[in-house]
């Protein structure tokens, strides 16, 4: 514990320092009447080339990360890719645009026909998913700056208990559902607004963003990639895609002898122990139980969370600007006037806008929030039900295998396998039954 304190103190200073360095103070203009204020300059939009450069770097990074983790099995290569990605997508491009945030653009594009998703953003959203369908989560391995920064600060990984790990892995789906709800209704881009690392990449940002970023970085020193595992909505999608991957990282390049040397090598809880397959009657009974459980749980969870999702959707209405205005106008009419009146209300009153139009918009919006909330809630319930089914009835695996949905292809576990070391030309002794060391 004594080693932790200096780190915490340093991180505190880092946060305070960044905050201090980048806090914007509006120095008042000179108060002489003849002082000509410089005209407000609106920066030109970024050239399209930079967008496509992002896509090219992303594609290159994905290819490199997949090749390095699956073919080269090189941790060092992954670290280099991580550093490059962190420098480019993180500190150079300042964390925007990123694949995680692109979920919102796509959701808004699907819900609002007047919103055109930029092609580059579409590519940023699609490419990592396509790669995950073929080679697993190469994006998470080292291309994502969020993953990279957490991975690179991991000093002393602690094992998160399985029950806690499984429970917390529900949160990315919740994050995803809320982000899609708010983006598709045009309310706000939740993922971007509360992105913990963008403040660090830009060395400026709202206090909450900087605090949460610093806190997650401190946590990342002891818990492997907490954001990726327990918050990242894009990670949830990638996890699903990666379960269908044609090629996946394998701990051993040869035959697994179940020596268990790799057991604690994964800091992300993505290594599954062998699970014997059920045989005969036990197998049939288990299959029946699974069907019954799914038949009961899936509709029940979908209905329950669908209903709750509708409620959450309705409660989220004031997050939409038009919903907020209507709520404020109604509150004012009910005598619940706030002081000072919000900017929206002041503008509304000064503009002489029609209250009925505002209310009509709120009625239409409310229906949209309700419907979307129900659908997303139902999908969330479905995910929970399937997750429970997977835990209750785990797939049989003969050997130690990476969990393809959770493995971020970081290549840490490879060097724990004696066969991998042999492959690299390093003489090793192969462990035998009871932990006794054998011959090379």
């Amino acid at each position: 514990m004594s080693r932790v304190w200096p780190v915490l103190v340093l991180l505190f200073f880092l946060w305070v320092g960044l905050d201090a360095a980048c806090g914007v103070e509006r120095f008042p203009p000179p108060d002489f009447s003849d002082h000509a204020l410089p005209p407000t300059v609106v920066p030109n939009p970024q050239p399209r080339t930079s967008d496509w450069l992002d896509v090219a770097v992303l594609a290159l990074g994905l290819a490199a990360a997949s090749w390095l983790s699956l073919r080269q099995r090189s941790r060092r290569g992954i670290v280099i890719v991580s550093l490059v990605s962190l420098a480019y997508f993180g500190f150079w491009r300042r964390g925007c645009v990123c694949a995680i945030g692109s979920i919102q653009n796509v959701a808004l594009g699907l819900a609002d026909p007047t919103y055109a998703v930029p092609l580059a953003v579409m590519a940023l959203f699609t490419l990592p998913l396509v790669v995950a369908l073929i080679w697993g989560r190469g994006f998470c391995a080292g291309v994502c700056p969020h993953g990279a920064i957490q991975d690179l600060v991991l000093v002393k990984p602690l094992k998160v208990p399985g029950w806690l790990d499984e429970s917390l892995r529900v949160l990315p789906w919740l994050h995803l559902a809320l982000a899609v709800l708010l983006a598709a209704t045009g309310s706000l881009f939740l993922i971007c607004k509360y992105d913990p690392f963008v403040g660090i990449f830009r060395m400026a940002g709202p206090r909450f963003m900087l605090i949460s970023g610093a806190a997650l970085l401190v946590l990342s020193m002891f818990v492997g990639r907490p954001y990726c595992r327990y918050l990242c909505p894009y990670g949830a999608l990638l996890g699903v895609a990666a379960r269908f991957a044609r090629w996946r990282p394998s701990v051993t390049p040869d035959t697994c002898t179940r020596c268990r040397l790799c057991e604690s090598s994964c800091p992300f809880g993505a290594l599954n122990p062998p699970m014997p397959a059920k045989q005969g009657q036990e197998r049939i009974a288990s299959g029946r139980q699974r069907i019954v459980l799914l038949a009961l749980m899936v509709p029940l969870a979908a209905l329950l969370f669908g209903w709750l999702g509708g409620k959450v959707g309705l409660a989220a209405l004031p997050l939409h600007p038009a919903g907020k205005l209507a709520t404020l106008v109604l509150a004012q009419e009910r005598g619940e006037i706030f002081n000072p009146p919000s900017d929206e209300l002041t503008a509304f009153r000064q503009h002489g806008a029609d209250r009925l139009t505002v209310f009509a918009t709120a009625v239409a919006l409310e229906a949209r929030f309700l419907t979307l909330g129900r659908w997303l809630g139902a999908i969330f319930g479905l995910v929970l039900a399937l997750k429970l089914a997977r835990i209750f009835f785990p797939a049989s695996t003969p050997d130690y295998e990476t969990d393809s949905g959770r493995c971020v292809s970081c290549a840490r576990c490879f060097s724990a396998c004696p066969y991998e070391l042999l492959r690299r030309g390093i003489p090793v002794a192969l462990p035998q039954e009871g932990g006794r060391r054998g011959e090379t």
Binding site: A21, R71, C259, K311, G335, N339, A362, A429
Partner: protein, 629 residues
Amino acid sequence: MAKPESSGPDARAAQSGPGILPGIQGGGQDARATSTALWARSCSRIALIAGVFSLVLGGWLIANTFHLHRGPGAGKLRLVEARELAPLKTALREDPKNEPLKQHIRQLDQQLRHEYFRREKLAGRAAWFLLGGAAVFLAALKLAAHLRRPPAPIPNISARPADAQRSAALAAKAVTGTTLALAGLALALFWNTGRQWQPDLTSSPETPAAVPAAVPAAGPAAASDPGWFPSAGDVAANWPYFRGPAGSGITTLPKLPETWDGASGNNILWQTEIGLPGENSPVIWGNRIFLTGATATRREVYCFDATTGALLWKEPVNTPQGDRAEAPEVMEDTGFAAPTAATDGRRVFACFANGDVAGFSAEGKRLWALNLGTPENTYGHAASLTLWQNRVIVVYDQAEAKSGKSKILALDAATGKQVWSTPRPVANSWVSPILIKHQGREQIITAADPLVIAYDPATGKNLWQAKCMRGDVAASPTFVNELVYVGSDQTCIAAIKPDGSGDVTASHIAWKQEDSGLPDMCSMLCDGPRVYTLVFGIFYAFDALSGKLLWEHDTKTTFQASPCIFNGRIHLLTTKGVMISGEASQDGFKETGRAALGEAAGASPAFAPGRIYLRGKKHLFCIGTKDGK
């Protein structure tokens, strides 16, 4: 295929024997161990240096921050600005043509700016250095930890991972628990969340030809439905009580007419004679307008068509006790029908100076009537009715405080039966109660000599009281800025925080103003920044948060109607029926126009989309434009 990785940290880790293969190290083990220890020590030292560097830099950045931005008066720049620049600027204001002084100020100002931006630039660079220092610190720490990692224990293979299934079962329970917890949390948070925006809010077209069609097509059966009451949205969309749904006299309805002339008929859409006199104000629900009128012997309730002005029905109010009793003595300005009626769309409720209270269906069928006893009231009973859910709230103050005759009661809207009644230790008053909701707590706010009292509308329980009123208390309170504003003509204007309980006289009165502008007959008005009173023709404004008198404006006329706000402007209806409109600011009141009704008026205005309804001494006027614009 490229050559696979065979060196580097992983391989070195394997060779240096952390855990996996200590048995094959051979003779070079000690040398390698020594080398590893040396590397680890070096890394620790680098981490220490980088850590100290980062801490120092971070400390400097914090100090710089305080220097630039924080700590009022602590930073050197601010001190210089305060001690040197500010006096110079003051001197320049007194001698604006002093060129050398101007030059001096410019130089000093430039120096300060220079210093400011220099420090800010330095801070920006230092932040990058800090980031670099932190990166080196973390990298060195990580490497040191890697090199010092103790050998991993050789697992006992014969002890198979039998706990896999056990941990899976535990995980299943945990995820089930999480699922249920999430569902429970969502239920707890959003159980009461429902659709708030009813389509009928939008059913009113913009043209004033038809006002909101919110009146349900309900017959007498619906009117006597014991549990029914309108939604808050419906109430807010109408003008159901004295001074509107919030009792504030404020409407945000857009584009209401500002000019009219009773003599020429300009913007007077219709005018209809009212049978009996009364000082009560119109209340509106959908296409129906309700009024009351009374003399010493007769009492009537009227319902007018809001579109055409046609009298839809009029019904007498009689009760055996009221008819038998001698008519109370009332002041001419008060009359026998001063209390404004209240409506919930399906029903309308009326109260008169002789103590008669009655309920009618919107179609004019009498539902119930009762008499509360002739009130002992100096000028005549005038407190208007209000509604809470399906209850009619009656404030019935009379005689002296010590007489114990004053009370507040809630009557069942469908039957007129008393739901609760609470004695009030106050003297006779003329204040109409308002309903407020603060921090989720609904309250009925009343004011009389000597107490402002808040009641729980469900039970009639006294929630809090403040002793700050004296004399003839007639101005109705208003609730804005999370403060209740009250006033009486002999004591003060007070702003009270409505979150207390018991006697809040000492603890919850935010401010009191005792010097001038104490309200008489007209009710309080607050637009957020300012509170207004209208006393004998003088319009006063006070700072809403401090009570400081801002200005007074002599209108050189007299008023009975309470001030109101529409189209974002303040409007004052004189006793001669002239509406004075104007814009208020922190500095004063600027009249923007006057519109004459052509008839004396004492009642407060009522509003519907595109239309203003004014009660004159004899007629009900509908003001609006024919094209609705």
